[in-house]
Amino acid sequence: MHVSMKGITKRFGSFVANEAIDLEVAEGEVLALLGENGAGKSTLVKILYGFQSPDEGTIEIDGKPVAFESPRDSMAAGIGMVFQQFSLIPALSVRENLQLAFPALPLVPSRRGAADTALLANLRRLAPELDPSALVADIPVGQMQLVELAKVLNLDSRLVILDEPTSVLTPIETRALHERVRTLAAEGRSVVLITHKFEDVASCADRVAVLRQGKKVEDRPAAGLSATELSSLMVGGAKVSAASRVPLPTRNVPWLEVRGLRAGDAFSSVTGIDLVVAPGEILGVAGVSGNGQDVLGACLAGVREVEAGEVILDGVAVHRGVGGVPDPQQVGYIPERPSVNGVAPELDLSVNLALKGLHTLPFWMGARRPSAREALPMLEEHDVRPRDPSRKARDLSGGNLQKLVAARELSGGRKLVVACYPTMGLDLAATQAVYARLFEHARNGASVVWISEELDDLLRFAHRIAVLFHGKVLGVVEAAEADRNELGRWMMGARS
């Protein structure tokens, strides 16, 4: 299938999301679509997928113009999309999830016979080892993605759009996905791969299109493109100053000590975690998400009750349990999905920014109630928009809420900073800004525990890296001596 988009323009009010973009995908071709957050990638593919209609421009499939009113139309024309947020139902089995999306499913679907074979054919090809009866909740993220892909292929898609598919995968899963993408292309399907990783481009793209501020700034064969060329294409002339590394701490004494930590529930847990972090040290915690990271972070921050073990900061037990509630002001904590877990949506920005010190206010707050006076400088410093402290947090976009939480948790002196995926979903410039603030705390002598899936960033900025697997620390290495592939194997639970 040969798809060509011509002169696509899409405006939202005065904002131009796409400006006269031409894009072609040939049969059997893998096109990598690159760009920063807000460059217009998602708008463009939403138009291709029929979610939105362009203000100007046309889409042609095999030379014939088409007009998509909704994804139903585009699916009928053979276009499928795998979203970043999966649309699988965790409480159902893999087979049931596929059945839900299968065209012309009988009223009482059988679990065997020709119909079932047809249903599972694509899945068997993509993930032969996956048991179709397993609950989706129980399978790793990489496999979930393949189930999503099988769902799309079951609709006989000739063009598959993958939205940042590798952002949630381990290195090994990533490599497997790259192979699958090549297979799809070899079968004559077209693939549009949205990404901002050079790795994805290098290992499976035929051609690269780069968007910047709504315009297509580059369209060329992928072969021979270097990583530096690519990132300068994405950010344009704008210079993104990378966060600088923090020198190794000189006082190698235990500041944060975790002993035999056990906590969690049926969905996520840690069992028997022991860690020691020095003042000024950045400990990176790597691992596939869902291996207990959220529980570990919440326990270190004193937000979640521990079942056993202790967390000691500067000689004082700070874990939450029978003993009491730790002082929220000595720990900065960016929870995972901060836009959901880190804000009170019905309250205004002043209160949201003042939360950590609320307990120090007198019962009758009087003039000391949280006000715009303290909030405004924080909003400015962290570039939170709109800069209006009286707005309710729920009026802000996800990215701005993330900056809001960072502003609250990373402002002021902290003894410990715990950050869970602090840059997930942020673009290059915002990511470096968060890194700079996060690492500044290490420079000032705090321990920093930084949970992330960005192995490259961990290797670059962390002093040591611990790998979490099934709620246990599988190993800890000095970042300077760590081997990327070795860490990747640890993340899959393999340690020799």
């Binding site: 929220p328 877990n341 009170a344 019905e346 939360l355 307990h359 009758w364 009087g366």
Partner: protein, 352 residues
């Protein structure tokens, strides 16, 4: 995008007075139209009937007094619902707490009788009774996540039966010739009357003072702010050292105490004795008022007055217009729907 946002703010500031008027006028207009349609359906002249309602509720001293008498328990039950709602707890237990307060308060009167400390002791016991009745579901919710709506609902029946048991059984005044009620309360435990010769008692002032006091507490104190944080995001609030469980216990207890106060006021100042069925529909009406006001302690006062007027004019409608008693309930429902529906539409219109 920025420019757009700024524009909308200026617009809303200039028209704030307009919006404020609209948020009162629009539901009132919808209510008038809908109730007119209802009267027309009954084959009556809407204008004449609405005139009769207004006349019944506010047209005479007797009408005004009866309206205010009914406003007191509605206002208190609405406060009792609204305080736990500040934490997101959906209590429908005002009538049960009303009975529990009436029961324990009466018990205190029966014990201490005519002592000069009888009145404070009675009020204290009534508040304690209501608070205990509310703390049970509050504790169940805090400790084991038992749904507080169901628990408060079911405890309503228990409390009502408890009062029945008392007045049919051990506390029955045998000189009443089988009438299931306690002995008459001594004059010393009755609050002074506001309008001489009527049954409008000083509980009205107490209720309004409570509304104002609760409003100040919830809007000015750190505790009130903490409740809002906990309601908005429980985990986040607990993470910075607030206690949701303590909040649940405190709001339920305060609400229960207020409803218990309503119970003993009704018992001592209106009926003069404890008897069966004194809560009428006050608990439910108070619940409706609380939600119509958006859990705003001050807004509850005028809305309670409107509800009180509707209830007291129900008698007038029955008497003079020969309409069934249920008419007043239907009008209540129409008011409830008008307020909530227009409120929702206005909010959508404000933030598209």
């Amino acid at each position: 995008m920025n420019i757009l946002l700024r524009k909308r703010r200026e617009l809303s500031e200039r028209f704030r007075w307009f919006e404020g008027t609209l948020s009162v006028a629009a539901p009132a207009l919808v209510f008038l139209l809908a109730s007119s349609a209802f009267f027309a359906l009954l084959g009556r002249d809407p204008l004449a009937l609405i005139g009769q309602i207004l006349n019944g509720a506010f047209g005479s001293t007797y009408g005004i007094v009866e309206t205010l008498v009914k406003t007191i328990p509605i206002l208190l039950c609405a406060l009792a619902t609204a305080v736990p709602a500040r934490l997101g707890l959906l209590s429908v237990g005002a009538s049960g707490q009303f009975y529990a307060g009436a029961w324990l308060g009466t018990g205190m009167v029966l014990v201490v009788g005519g002592s000069h400390l009888a009145m404070p002791a009675m009020f204290l016991a009534a508040c304690a009774g209501g608070a205990i009745w509310a703390l049970v579901p509050g504790f169940l919710r805090a400790q084991w996540e038992v749904n507080e709506t169901l628990a408060t609902l079911l405890l309503n029946y228990v409390a009502s039966l408890l009062v029945d048991w008392a007045v049919y059984g051990p506390w029955r005044d045998t000189s009443n010739l089988g009438w299931p009620a306690t002995i008459s309360f001594p004059e010393s435990v009755r609050l002074p009357v506001l309008v001489p010769g009527s049954r409008l008692h000083a509980g009205l002032l107490l209720a309004i003072l409570l509304a104002v006091g609760l409003h100040i507490l919830l809007s000015r104190s750190r505790w009130g702010l903490e409740l809002r944080v906990l309601r908005s995001n429980r985990k986040l609030g607990e993470g910075v050292g607030m206690s949701w469980k303590a909040g649940a216990a405190a709001t339920m207890a305060i609400g229960g105490a207020v409803a218990g106060l309503a119970g003993i006021l009704e018992t001592s100042c209106i009926h003069g004795r404890l008897q069966s069925g004194i809560a009428l529909n006050y608990g439910l009406t108070g619940f409706l008022v609380a939600w119509m006001s958006g859990q705003h302690m001050l807004r509850i006062v005028p809305i309670s007055l409107v509800m009180g007027a509707l209830l007291s004019s129900g008698d007038a409608l029955q008497l003079f217009a020969q309409l069934p008693e249920a008419t007043a309930v239907v009008l209540q429902a129409i008011l409830f729907c008008s307020v909530l529906a227009t409120g929702g539409l206005l909010r959508r219109w404000r933030s598209p």
